[in-house]
């Protein structure tokens, strides 16, 4: 076993260990708690960088099989899997068994591939700012707060790393718990209602997802007599079954896919969130403490999109194409416009940014469901971008709230005069969010648009949705630039505050802002290495979609 294989354990276990240590400190030793949390999160971020570096150095060439009927080789295996690769039935996997279930075994199967790598890094990178931003914001039950925060990190990292479908689901559900407490205990005045709504709404969706997961496992078992919970193996088996040119098998798998797709979507669409399943989000954001908002927007929403990429598209390619593509595209494009309009009308800055997330995630989902390599890459890239730029926006609004204890736009005006450095930072985050070239947002948005356009002109009727989605470009600028106009520009109006003069950006706040801003610049100016690293895995997904397209055409021809 090489040392990369320990990295995943470290990444997963360290936050949990940190959480326990922090919890045991007791509520009195606040400084110690904060320092331990910061140290732990920094070590994790460092480890994630090493992981990314090692992974990007790997040679992972992949070329699509020429014929769709060709056996899809087991190339969905992740790298850096902890535990020995078992040689028996499974081509790969791990020997870390959790629960033996007759012929199959639920395994503790972790790994890294091009799709989750940068989400892991994003998770690790977003946590030190979360710890820092809460430094002076949280005073009650500090040890518990940081313990839940670190526990959340373990859960989110677990979702992204899991390659066993049961393990994935366990982390998927567990990630609700820490956030439930973070919102419910340290949130705003309506925190109980918000926490309950957030929890019940997403839980309802994801219970259906569980049925979907069981469905696909049992369907594979009944047709191939292989009981497996390994996602790569399930993907290969399902797609081999789909390639069988037999009308009985075809009908069976179409109906299975239909059921599985609907069930999976139920959970993921709430999580993303797609309009009209989004109403828990603005509420949860407004009530959550800053760190909770950052994690919610930056990571929790990504779990939804990630679910589509990891499970929905590869396990139900035919239905994803025939039903998912039109359905998701329509909902996503509605979300782009609707989210933008809702965002414009908000008075609470946090709510405004929450709605902007709905708009941005709409573009992301529309691109993912273009089911082309371009769009998938764009959607994936846009996930990371959104985590960075919206994370920055929430952090900055948190800093403002910490100073004046209000988030209402009408309480502010001309704050650039009073806090010029803060104004600069907010401007930067806004520009990153509206997709200014040179910053990360542009590359992601451009790729998304390219992907949607490619799908629509190559396979669809015409670039209708691409045109509608493009209006998001100007709508995004509309609400964010208006926010800047109201908040930063104009004659100075400072909310009432007691005590000494309000300071501009402090060193601690620079430490939260600068690393994320640097990443925004890096991803904007030289995104190629990141895109190149995820390309083989994105191509694999696109290949599955292409195979589904060919089957669809064959069906159409057969019907004639």
């Amino acid at each position: 076993m090489e040392f990369e294989h320990y990295l995943l354990h470290v990444l997963l276990a360290l936050p949990l260990v940190g959480a326990i240590v922090v919890a045991l400190q007791g509520p009195k030793r606040q400084t110690a708690v904060r320092r331990i949390s910061l140290g732990v999160s920094l070590v994790i971020a460092f480890c994630s960088f090493i992981l990314a570096g090692r992974f990007m150095a790997l040679e992972r060439p992949w070329t699509a099989p020429q014929k769709p009927t060709e056996r899809i080789s087991t190339t969905f295996q992740p790298e850096f899997v902890p535990g020995l690769k078992s040689t028996a039935l499974h081509d790969a996997g791990t020997d870390w068994d959790l629960i033996p279930l007759g012929a199959g075994t639920v395994q503790f199967y972790l790994g890294v591939d091009g799709i989750n790598l940068f989400l892991i890094v994003l998770t690790a990178v977003l946590f030190p700012p979360c710890v820092l931003i809460s430094w002076n914001q949280v005073h009650e039950r500090v040890n518990e707060f940081y313990a839940w925060l670190l526990a959340l990190q373990t859960c989110v990292l677990g979702v992204f790393m899991a390659f066993d479908i049961v393990l994935f689901y366990v982390f998927f559900e567990l990630s609700l718990v820490p956030l439930f407490f973070l919102i419910g205990i340290w949130g705003g005045p309506e925190r109980r209602y918000a926490a309950r709504k957030f929890f019940v709404y997403t839980l309802t969706g994801s219970l259906l997802t569980l049925l979907g997961i069981m469905g696909v496992v049992l369907a594979v078992y009944s047709r191939t007599h292989v009981l497996t919970f390994s996602i790569p193996e399930l993907v290969v088996l399902v797609n081999q079954q789909l390639a069988i040119q037999d009308s009985e098998s075809r009908a069976y798998w179409l109906s299975i896919q239909m059921v599985v797709f609907s069930l999976l979507v139920a959970g993921f669409a709430v999580k993303v969130p797609l309009v009209p399943f989004h109403t828990w989000l603005p509420l949860a954001h407004v009530e959550a403490p800053t760190a909770g908002s950052v994690d919610l927007a930056g990571l929790l929403l990504k779990i939804g999109v990630y679910g589509f990429l990891r499970l929905c598209i590869p396990l139900t390619p035919d239905v994803s194409l025939a039903w998912g593509l039109p359905l998701v595209t329509v909902l996503a494009v509605i979300g782009i416009i609707y989210g933008a309009f809702c965002a414009y009308a908000q008075d609470d800055v946090k709510k405004l940014i929450a709605y902007s997330s709905i708009s941005h995630l709409g573009l992301c989902m529309a691109a993912v469901y273009s089911l082309t390599a371009t769009g998938l890459a764009g959607g994936l890239f846009q996930m990371v971008n959104h985590g960075l730029s919206t994370g920055l926006l929430f952090l900055l609004i948190g800093m403002l709230y910490e100073r004046y204890h209000t988030r209402m736009l009408q309480d502010y005006s001309g704050m650039a005069t009073r806090l010029p450095l803060f104004g600069f930072c907010l401007m930067f985050a806004v520009l990153s969010s509206v997709g200014l070239p040179g910053l990360n947002g542009f590359v992601g948005e451009a790729l998304c648009f390219f992907g949607i356009m490619e799908e629509e002109t190559t396979y669809g009727g015409g670039p209708f949705f691409a045109v509608v989605a493009l209006s998001g470009m100007v709508l995004g600028a509309w609400y964010l630039i208006t926010m800047v106009r109201r908040l930063l520009f104009g004659p100075l109006k400072e909310p009432h505050h007691d005590g000494p003069a309000i300071p501009d950006m402090e060193p601690r706040e620079w430490a939260t802002f600068l690393p994320l801003a640097a990443l925004c610049l890096l991803l904007g100016l030289y995104p190629h290495p990141f895109l190149a690293t995820s390309q083989p895995d994105v191509d694999r997904l696109a290949h599955l979609a292409d195979a589904a397209r060919q089957r669809q055409q064959q069906d159409v021809q057969a019907r004639r």
Partner: protein
């Protein structure tokens, strides 16, 4: 290595960019009122490199394939799926001319700004933004593919936004900045859509030469027209053409050097550059060109009519910029394939861009100098007769006004006449839409007369009549310092002489043809330049019209000052129409801005009460079911026994009846 521009092309945007970054980081704390040195250094460095590029490009052999330009690919910017965007730069004749114009005028304006911005608390911020602008603008003209172009296009838009809103505490400036950003972004959506369509239809490539090559054999004519119109919509936004021109007059809220640099000489001409660059596409879509020409002529006339009655000196100049940009697009729109005029048309447009950059920058800097002396007042009703108070400003402003009005032999005269000549050629009977082009020609000539009038109206109102100084100026209204007047003099020399040097000699057009047009354009778009030597009839005609306008202004504002007011009273309707900018701003506000805002409020209410209300309603379902079946659990043992008996009975009945 200095002979080959490929080694230093990247430095042209990089030097100002570096200056911007250093000023941005150190300006506030360390550089403070020394910040301008870096900006000027970066601008002059870029200017020297631009001239080197120009000389290198003129030394290239045009007859080899791609021999007329230097291309350098630096790295892969992004690549995913079918998208492959390299970060690459190129320099050919057009780029070199644009580079020299931008960096030369940029350097002069940077020097001027040292005096103008002196003592402003945002001094470093100003120079950081100006440097960033120069970097973006040079990148825009150096780009070798549409995405790099678009990136720089957005970059100059950002700088415009930051500089229009430079005095952000002023609500009017903050609103103007927002308006500028959003209105141009509206055009950018069209531009990006055009780029997407090019990418999808021209074999997933966005490099200029590949796209233009494939466009030649592209058979879907309708789509090509659509693509051209979409590209043009970007230009309409950036270059302030009707109906997206509304942002430019408001943008005058920015400091005057910014108005001169961004909103007169360089950024607003980016649209002209884009359409000129894409002439191989437009040349094959005459319908699109007709639209371009019509919008252009309409804009030129409309803006000139509005400029007649504005009382804000800078706004008069802003509308004249819109009008002059209309001239440039008129030329570009006249160079249709059918007329074989493409080469003459684009060189005329770029020539006008070049001369306009000089005289309009000069006029704006002159207006800035007036504003500087008048304590920030720019309303022409508040001051007059400044001729003796500001002698240098007066004489240089006169040079600029003469050039803009098209006084014979000054620079504007030559370039405007080339444009009018092209339009007249396009209107020759027998070719595509000749009647319309003839009409456009007459609109162009009429606009020339209006230009002469409003330009000299502004000049006479400002510098003639009795000496009147607003109280904001205090008692020490004086000529600007040499650091401001020197750039004025240099630009005045350009405004007077540039036309005479490059116009009649044909050097400018010849250079562009040899190093850009001839190697790049399909043969059938070209005709022999000799056929289109100066059209003396047009020259005479337009000179008479322009001088009539100038004379009318002299008569109305110097000889008979009461005449203007009585005319305004006599024609109240028309006067108000012009003074209120044809009510276009109000129209857009009530037809677009207001409805969108209402829609947003509506969306907010719907989301809060209907969408979320439904969710809560669904959330009540389990509770409701529980409530509905709760009476069953009533705690009466007899009731349970009854139910049990009924159940068992029903069970047996079911078995028996089976």
């Amino acid at each position: 290595m200095f002979s080959d521009p490929r080694y230093y092309l990247w430095l042209i945007p990089a030097l100002p960019l570096l200056a911007a970054a250093v000023i941005g980081v150190l300006g506030k704390a360390i550089l403070r009122d020394r910040s301008h040195w870096l900006c000027i250094g970066g601008a002059i460095g870029a200017c020297i490199l631009s001239f080197m590029t120009l000389s290198a490009v003129s030394g290239l052999e045009g007859d080899r394939i791609d021999g007329h330009r230097c291309i350098r690919i630096y790295y892969t910017w992004f690549h995913a799926g079918n998208v492959d965007i390299p970060f690459s730069l190129q320099a050919d004749g057009l780029t070199a001319v644009m580079l020299v114009t931008v960096t030369f005028i940029g350097s002069l304006i940077a020097i001027y700004s040292v005096g103008y911005m002196h003592g402003d608390p945002g001094f470093p911020r100003f120079f950081a933004a100006v440097s960033l602008f120069l970097a973006s603008m040079t990148l825009l003209v150096l780009a070798n593919n549409f995405i790099v172009l678009f990136a720089a296009w957005e970059g100059v838009g950002l700088c415009s936004y930051l500089l229009v809103g430079f005095w952000y505490a002023k609500p009017s400036a903050a609103d103007a900045a927002r308006k500028a950003f959003l209105v141009t972004r509206l055009g950018d959506v069209g531009l990006f859509l055009g780029i997407l369509l090019i990418w999808v239809n021209f074999g997933y490539s966005l490099e200029y030469d590949v796209v233009f090559e494939r466009a030649r054999s592209f058979d879907n004519h309708g789509l090509l027209v659509v693509i051209c119109l979409l590209l043009f919509s970007g230009a309409v936004g950036k270059s302030a053409q009707f109906p997206l021109h509304v942002w430019l007059p408001d943008a005058m809220e920015g400091p005057s050097p910014v108005s001169a640099l961004i909103h007169a000489a360089t950024m607003v001409t980016a649209g002209v550059y884009l359409v000129a660059r894409c002439t191989p596409l437009f040349g094959q879509a005459p319908e699109a060109q007709l639209v371009v020409a019509c919008i252009a002529a309409g804009t030129a006339l409309l803006a000139a009519l509005i400029a007649l009655t504005q009382s804000d000196l800078k706004r008069v100049l802003a509308y004249s910029t819109i009008s002059q940009l209309g001239y440039m697009f008129l030329a570009l729109g006249s160079g249709t394939m059918d007329h074989r005029l493409a080469a003459v048309a684009v060189t005329a447009a770029i020539f006008h861009l070049f001369t306009h950059a000089f005289f309009k920058a000069l006029l704006f800097l002159g207006a800035g100098s007036v504003m500087h002396a008048m304590g920030g007042i720019i309303d022409m009703r508040r001051f007059s007769g400044l001729r003796r108070l500001l002698p240098v400003t007066h004489w240089t402003f006169l040079c600029g006004a003469g050039a803009l009005a098209g006084i014979p032999l000054l620079s504007g005269f030559w370039s405007k006449d080339e444009i009018l000549a092209v339009t007249k050629q396009a209107g020759q009977p027998g070719s595509f839409a000749s009647g319309i082009y003839l009409l456009l020609f007459f609109i162009g000539v009429a606009t020339a007369g209006l230009t002469g009038f409003y330009t000299f109206r502004a000049y006479f109102l400002t510098f003639w009549g009795e000496e009147k100084v607003p109280h904001e100026a205090g008692h020490h209204a004086h000529e600007s310092p040499p650091v401001m007047t020197l750039p004025l003099c240099v630009l005045a020399v350009g405004a007077v002489g540039a036309g005479l040097v490059f116009g009649p000699t044909g050097w400018f057009g010849g250079f562009l043809e040899e190093h850009w047009v001839n190697p790049e354009f399909p043969r059938r778009l070209l005709s022999d330049r000799a056929e289109h030597a100066h059209d003396y009839l047009v020259m005479l005609f337009s000179s008479i019209v322009a001088l009539t306008g100038v004379g009318a202004a002299y008569w109305m504002y110097v000889r008979q000052p009461a005449l203007a007011d009585s005319l305004a009273r006599a024609w109240t309707g028309l006067y108000e129409l012009s003074r209120n900018k044809f009510y276009l701003d109000d129209f857009f506000y009530s037809m677009i801005v207001k409805p969108l805002t209402v829609l947003a409020l509506l969306a907010r209410v719907v989301d809060q009460y209907i969408v979320d209300g439904l969710v809560d309603l669904v959330g009540q379902v389990p509770a409701f079911i529980g409530y509905a079946v709760r009476p069953v659990q009533n705690g009466l043992v007899q009731f349970y026994a009854l139910l049990m008996a009924l159940g068992v009975g029903g069970f047996f009945l079911a078995i028996l009846l089976r």
